[in-house]
Amino acid sequence: MISKYYFLLLLLFTSFIVTSQKKFEPTEEDILLAKELSSSYPDEDIALLKHSEIIDFDYDKKADKVIVKNKFKQEFINLKSRTEIPLFIGYDDQSKIQDVYVNHRNGQSAGVRFKDEYYNQEELFHSDARIKWAGLNFPLLGYKYTFGYKKKYKDVKYFVNTFLDSYFPIVQKTITVNIPNWLDVEIKEINMETISVKKDKKEIENNGITQYTYTIENVEAVTKEENSIGPTHYRPHLLFLAKSHTKNDTKQVLLNNTKDLYKWYHSLVLQLNNDTESLKEKTLSIIANKNTDEEKIKAIYYWVQDNIRYIAFEDGIAGFKPEEAANVYRKKYGDCKGMANLTKQMMKIAGFDARLSWIGTRRIAYDYSLPTIAVDNHMICTVIVNDQKYFLDATEKYNPLGTYAERIQKKQVLIENDEDYILDTIPSNVSKNNIKTVVSSLKIEEEKLTGTIKRKYEGESKTDFLYNINNLKKDKKNEVLEYYIGRGDKNLVLDDISITDISNRDQDLHLSYNIIQNNAISSFENELYIDIDYYKSYQQLDFDKRKTAFVLPYKTLENTSTTIEIPEGYIVKELPENLSVNNKDFEISFNYKSNKDEIIYEKNINFKNAIISKTELSAWKEFHKKLKKQYQQQIILTKE
C-alpha cells in the first residue's frame, strides 16, 4: 500500500544540544581540500585525511601472556554534499575495545553513541565476534571528524595482521610498530609491491624499543567487488609473527615455527575425551556389507556429508577446538571441525588410520611456512591406507570420494601425527573433470526452433547441480527444474524432462528434454535469421570497472554443440565468423560450419584455473567486447 506520509514521527522533544555550529563547520581550506580530493577520487564520498595506527606490545604477568595494544586515530573528510557512513569496530572474546571517541574538527565530542552487538553474519550461525557501531553524518562538503579507539589483544597469538590500505581513499597513513627488545616478532611485509611505502626503523634509546614506521600517501580505496579473491592475496599488509619472548630472563617460545603452531592445535585436540561409544553401532551399520577399504571409507564419508548439517560456530577457543564427535553425532550438525572430528572417529571405529587436518582455503594467501593462526580457516579429515591418503571434507555435500572442492585444491594440509605433523598438499583437478556438455538437435518450424537437448554434468558441475536440486522442495522439483533450464522465459516450452538419479554422486548426471523455443527465428522477405545461442553464457560478465581478480566456483569447462536442420528450399547465406581466445586463465572458441543439410555450432568455454587473474582482466575485457558482438550475430538462411 502507498505510504501516505513522509513523516510519521512527529515527536516533540526539546533536548537539542545547543552549541555554536561555526566551530564544527568546514573552513574554506577544508572545502577546497574536499573538492580537490573529490576530483582525484570522484566515486568516493569520504576520504581519510590522516590515519595513524600504533602497535605496542606488553607483558601480562598475571596471565603470562604477551599482549598487544593497538591504537587507532582516523581523520575523515566529506567529499560530497552530504554523506552518512557507518563506523564500526570489530572485536571478540580475545580482544577488548576502549576509549572510543568521535570528535568534531575543533576537538569537541560529536556525541556519537555506539551500539554494541553480536556481529551476525549469514554464513555463521554463531560466533563470538561483536561490533560496536554507530552512524556518522557529515552534513556539508569538507566536514571533518576524528574517530579513535584502542583495541587490546589478550594474547599476541590472536593479533595476526594489519592492512595498509582502507575502504576509504587515504591521504596519509602511518603504522607505527614498537617492538620491545624482550620480544622476538617478525614483521612480514606482504603485497607491498602494489603500493608505495616509506619505511623507517629506529631504536628508541633507554626504552629498549625498536620502532618501525610505515607511511603511505595518496592511496585509492580498496574496491569492494563480488566473487573476489581473499584480501591477503592482493591487499598490502603486515603479518606479525610473534616467535618468542625473554621476559624474566627465560626464553619462552610463542609460535616460532610450524611445529609450535601444530603443538598448540594438537594440545586443543588432546583436550577432547573422544568417548565414541555412541557412534559405534551406527558406524558398524554403515559399513556392514562393505567389503573393500574404499567402499567402507566412501560409505562413512557420504553418511557424514548427507546426515550432518553444516552450521558454523566460531566461539572463542571453540573457533580452534573441534567439538566432540559424540556431540556432533547426537546433534547431527556441526562446523567443519566438528564434522572432521566425527569423520575421524567413525573411520577409527571402522579400523582406519584417520587424522584431523588443518587447511587454509584458497581465500587465504598464506602457507604453513608461516607460524600463525591466520594460515588456516578450515579442517578436514585425512584417512591413510597404506601409502594412500584420502582427504575427506564432509562439509562439501554430494562430493564423490577422491575429488576435492576447488577451495582446497593445491592447498597445504597439516595432518595430525602425534607429537609431530605431516605436511601434504591436496591434489589439483583439471577443468576437464568438471565438464558440462550440452548437445542440441534442432529443427526450424516457422519462427520456432524445436528439438531435443541432452546435458551431461561431471565433477564439480555435477556436485553443484546435485546440491541445488536436492535442496528444493520435493513437490516443486519438476517445476523448478523447468525454471532452472528455461530461466522462467515464456519463449521456452519444455517437455519430457528426464534426469538420472539425483542421489547418486558417483555417476555422471544426465538431463534430457524436448524443447520449443519461440521467437528464435525472424523471417523477413526470403530470409530467415537464426539466433542460435539462447543462453549467451558469460555475456553478463562485464568487467568494465573491475579491479581485482574474479573467482569462479570451480574450474569450468562447458562444451555445447548445436545442430540445426536446414529446412527444405533454404540454403545458408551467412554464418558468423569463428572466434577464439586462449590465455593463462581461459580458452574459449566459437565455431560454425554447415553442409547442405545442417548447421553445426560448437562453443567451448574453459576457465582453466577457476579464476580470471588480475593480469588477465584486460584480456577478458577485450574478449568480452567480441563476445557480445558474437552473440549478436545471426545465422542467415535464404530461399534457394
Binding site: 506520509y5 552487538e117 554463531h126 553524518n137
Partner: protein, 727 residues
C-alpha cells in the same frame, strides 16, 4: 513529563504482570509449557499416519493448533498465544526450514520434540542448546534507559528427513495498554504452503467478555466447549484434510482460502474500537446496519466549527465546486504539507533547535477520522449535502462479512450535483480531490448520512463505482536514434500518468523537496527558513539544507536509473531525469517527467550487413503467462482498470531501409481488454503506437481465455524485431 511517568507506570505494570502470570486460571505457567502441551492426555502422543496422497509433499502438517488466551489485568486486556505445530519433514528443504528457530526471548518460550521414523522420541533441551544472538546495550533515548534485551536462537539437533518435529511457542501478543478495551482483531488463514491434516484453533475467553467470530470460505464454525462452572469461556474450531495453496497472480487469498476471524472486547463503551454484541459471551457473527450507524454516531463530530480555510477562500471568486476543491487542497497544505520541511529538518538534524517549535501551534492531521470530521464539518457549514462512505477493501471480502471497525476505510461522497457526485478521501502529500482509493472500488459499502442536525442518522448500502481504464492511464513516448554507427542508442522518454497509475508512482517520483515550494507559493504559507529567527538555526539550515537537497536528488536519480534499467532490461548511461508537471492540484492533471539516456546497443543483432532491432522491448516487460497457468481456475482480481499508451519514434539511419513492419500492426480486443499497435513511416521516421488496456478490475474465470488473447498479443509484440537493411 507526562510521557515519562506513563512509561514508568508501564514498566512497573509489566513487572507485576510477569509475577502474577500463573494466577489466571486457564493459562499454563510458562515454565511448564512442556507439561501442558505434552501432557498425559495429549491426543498427539501417538501420531497418525500421513495420507498416501501427500507422501510426495515437501512437508505435511499433522497438527496446526493455536490457542488464544484473553484475560483482564489492571483494566487492560491481555493476549497470550500458544502455538503448536507437528510437521512431518519429507525433504531437505523442509528440514532446512525447521532446523533453526530465531528471535527467542524472555517472553517467548519454545519447546521442541522430534519423533524419529523408528518411533524414538527426542525432547530438545532448548535452554542448553540455544545460543545468544544479540542484545542491546542499554541505549539511552531522551533520558530513559531501555533495559537490555537478550535474544537467542536455536539450531535443532538431530533433525533429519523423515523426522516429525513437534514444537510449541508461547508468547505475549503485545504489552497491555491501559484503557485499550479490545484485543487486536485476528484473521487466521487455515491453508498454507504445506497440506494440513488437522487444524485447531481455540479461543480462551471469559464469560464477561464480548466476542465476535466469523468464519469464511468453508472454514469450520466455532463449537462452544466452555466448562459449565466458572468464568471461563472457550470456543474451538476444527478442520481436517486441508490442501496446500500456492500464491498466484491477480488473486486475493482472503476471498478464496478458508479463514477464521475474531475479536475480544472487554467493555461495551463508546471508546471500544470494536463492534460489540448485545450480550456478553454470546457470539456476535455479523454487524448490523444499525450497529455501524451507532458506532460512527459515537465517534464522528460534524459540528467541528472548522474555519481552517476561511481565510484562504475569503474574497475569492470560486464556484461552489471550486470552493470545496480548493478547501481540500488548502487543508492538505495547512494540516500536513506545511510541516514537511520541519519533519525533514528534524529527521536530518538540519536545525540546532527542534524545528517544530517554530510553528505556533502545530496542528496536523494524520488520522482518517480526524480528516473526515474536519472536512465534513466544512461541508456542513457550506450547506453542501454529503454522505460518509464506510467501505472495506476488496481484498478483504464483502461488506456483509464486516466484523471489525479497523477494516473500514472512510471517505466522503459529495452530492453537489447528484448526477455527478464528487469523492474525497483522507489526504496524503500528493492526493487529489475527487478520488477513491483503488482498493475500495467495486465493493459494496455503507453510506451514512446526517439528518437535519450534525449527527449521522441514516444508513444504507451503496456500490462504490469503479474507475474507467481510460482515466487510469500511462502514456510513454520514446524518441530513439542510433549514435556512433550502431554502437549505441540515444533515447528520450517522456511519461505522463493519470488516475491510479499516477497515484501508484507519484510518491516515488516526487521527493519531499520538489513540491514544498509550489505549495508554499500557492498558499502563501511560511517556509521553515522564514520561521527561523535565531542566527544559529538560520545559519545551519542555510548551509545544510542545500547539501541535503543535493544528496536527495542524486540518490533519487540513481534509483530512477536502476528502475528504468529493470523496466527495459538493459544497461543505460548518461541518465538524466526531470519532473515536468507534478499533477498535484487536479485529479485530471498528469504527473509528467522526462528521462534521457544512452544505452549500449544490446537490442541490436547483426545479420550480415543488416541489423535486427528488438523494438518491441520498448513497451516494457510484458506479463508472460506460462503454459501451466493458462488453465487457471480462479477468478481474476486485479487492482484497477488501467491502460497504457506507448509511442516509439525511431529515426532510421541514413543508408538503411526498414523491413518487417507488417508484424507491428496488431489488433486484439474483447470485453476484458485489448492490445493494439500500428505504425507509420514518413521519410526516415518510423512511429509505432501501441495501446494496452484492462477494462475491469475483475474478470470471472470464464473470461480468462479472453484475457489471454490480448496478454499474448502484447507479449508477442514485445518480442518483435524489425530489420534495418543496408540499401
Amino acid at each position: 513529563m507526562k510521557k515519562t511517568s506513563n512509561l514508568v507506570t508501564k514498566i512497573i505494570f509489566i513487572i507485576s504482570f510477569i509475577q502474577t502470570i500463573a494466577v489466571y486460571g486457564q493459562l499454563p505457567k510458562i515454565d511448564n509449557l512442556a507439561e501442558y502441551i505434552w501432557s498425559e492426555d495429549d491426543q498427539y502422543a501417538e501420531l497418525p499416519a500421513i495420507p498416501d496422497k501427500w507422501q510426495n509433499e515437501s512437508a505435511v502438517v499433522i497438527l496446526s493448533d493455536t490457542d488464544y488466551y484473553y484475560f483482564k489485568a489492571k483494566k487492560a486486556l491481555n493476549t497470550h498465544i500458544i502455538i503448536r505445530r507437528i510437521i512431518k519433514l519429507n525433504d531437505q528443504a523442509s528440514v532446512n526450514e525447521y532446523s533453526e528457530f530465531n528471535q527467542l526471548g524472555q517472553n517467548k518460550q519454545l519447546i521442541v520434540k522430534i519423533t524419529k521414523p523408528n518411533g524414538s522420541i527426542n525432547i530438545i533441551d532448548v535452554d542448553s542448546e540455544k545460543v545468544e544472538t544479540s542484545e542491546s546495550d542499554g541505549t539511552v533515548i531522551s533520558g530513559i534507559i531501555y533495559k537490555s534485551v537478550k535474544k537467542s536462537k536455536l539450531a535443532i539437533p538431530d533433525l533429519e528427513i523423515g523426522d516429525i518435529i513437534d514444537y510449541s511457542i508461547y508468547y505475549k501478543e503485545r504489552e497491555p495498554i491501559m484503557g485499550v478495551l479490545e484485543a487486536p482483531s485476528v484473521r487466521d488463514v487455515i491453508s498454507g504452503e504445506y497440506p494440513i491434516m488437522n487444524y485447531e484453533l481455540d479461543i480462551h475467553s471469559k464469560k464477561d467478555f464480548f466476542i465476535s467470530i466469523k468464519t469464511e470460505n468453508g472454514a469450520p464454525q466455532p463449537t462452544d466447549i466452555s466448562p459449565e462452572k466458572g468464568k471461563n469461556k472457550r470456543y474451538s474450531f476444527k478442520m481436517k484434510d486441508i490442501e496446500k495453496i500456492d500464491p498466484i497472480m491477480w488473486e486475493y487469498t482472503l476471498l478464496d482460502a478458508p479463514y477464521v476471524k475474531f475479536q475480544i472486547a472487554l467493555e461495551k463503551e463508546k471508546k471500544t474500537e470494536a463492534f460489540v454484541g448485545e450480550e456478553k459471551s454470546k457470539i456476535k457473527d455479523n454487524v448490523t446496519d444499525e450497529e455501524v450507524l451507532n458506532y460512527y454516531k459515537g465517534i464522528t463530530v460534524f459540528d467541528h466549527g472548522y474555519k481552517g480555510s476561511d481565510k484562504y477562500l475569503k474574497d475569492k471568486d470560486f464556484s461552489k465546486k471550486e470552493r470545496i476543491e480548493e478547501a481540500y487542497y488548502y487543508m492538505r497544505q495547512y494540516y500536513l504539507n506545511q510541516f514537511i520541511e520541519a519533519a525533514v529538518a528534524y529527521q536530518n538534524d538540519l536545525t540546532v533547535d527542534n524545528p517544530f517549535q517554530f510553528y505556533a501551534f502545530p496542528k496536523y492531521i494524520t488520522k482518517e477520522l480526524k480528516f473526515i470530521n474536519y472536512y465534513a464539518s466544512f461541508l456542513r457549514e457550506e450547506k453542501i449535502p454529503f454522505e460518509m462512505i464506510a467501505a472495506i477493501p476488496r481484498s478483504q471480502g464483502k461488506i456483509d462479512d464486516l466484523l471489525f471497525p479497523d477494516d473500514i476505510t472512510l471517505f466522503l461522497k459529495i452530492n453537489l450535483d447528484p448526477e455527478k457526485p464528487l469523492f474525497v478521501s483522507q489526504f496524503g502529500n500528493h492526493t487529489n480531490f475527487n478520488y477513491i482509493p483503488y482498493y475500495l472500488e467495486g465493493n459494496e459499502a455503507y453510506s451514512l448520512e446526517t439528518g437535519k442536525g450534525h449527527r449521522l442518522e441514516t444508513i444504507k448500502k451503496v456500490m462504490i463505482p469503479v474507475s474507467d481504464y481510460k482515466r487510469n492511464n500511462s502514456n510513454q513516448e520514446y524518441d530513439i536514434t542510433f549514435v556512433d554507427g550502431f554502437e549505441k542508442i540515444k533515447v528520450f522518454k517522456k511519461s505522463e500518468l493519470k488516475g491510479h497509475n499516477k497515484v501508484s508512482e507519484i510518491n516515488d517520483r516526487l521527493n519531499s523537496l520538489n513540491f514544498t515550494e509550489e505549495d508554499h507559493e500557492k498558499y502563501n504559507t511560511k517556509r521553515l527558513y522564514d520561521r527561523l529567527k535565531k542566527k544559529r538555526n538560520k545559519k545551519k539550515y542555510e548551509k545544510e539544507f542545500p547539501a541535503f537537497k543535493e544528496k536527495i536528488v542524486s540518490v533519487q536519480k540513481e534509483s530512477y536509473e536502476e528502475s528504468l534499467e529493470e523496466e527495459l532490461d538493459f544497461k543505460i548511461e548518461d541518465f538524466s531525469f526531470e519532473v515536468l508537471e507534478t499533477g498535484r492540484y487536479n485529479i485530471e492533471d498528469v504527473l509528467s517527467y522526462k528521462e534521457e539516456f544512452l544505452a549500449a546497443n544490446d537490442l541490436l543483432k547483426r545479420a550480415g550487413p543488416n541489423y535486427l532491432f528488438e523494438i518491441g522491448k520498448f513497451i516494457g516487460g510484458q506479463i508472460a503467462i506460462e503454459e501451466k497457468d493458462k488453465g487457471r481456475e480462479e477468478d481474476i482480481r486485479m487492482p484497477y482498470p488501467r491502460s497504457f499508451n506507448n509511442t516509439i519514434n525511431l529515426t532510421i539511419p541514413d543508408g538503411y531501409e526498414v523491413a518487417g513492419l507488417d508484424k507491428l500492426d496488431i489488433e486484439v480486443k474483447n470485453e476484458t481488454g485489448g492490445f493494439t499497435s500500428n505504425h507509420t513511416l514518413e521519410g526516415n521516421k518510423l512511429t509505432i503506437s501501441t495501446f494496452k488496456y484492462y477494462t475491469h478490475n475483475y474478470e470471472p474465470n470464464t473470461n480468462w481465455s479472453k484475457m489471454l488473447e490480448f496478454l499474448e498479443a502484447a507479449y508477442q509484440f514485445s518480442q518483435q524485431k524489425i530489420l534495418l537493411k543496408k540499401q
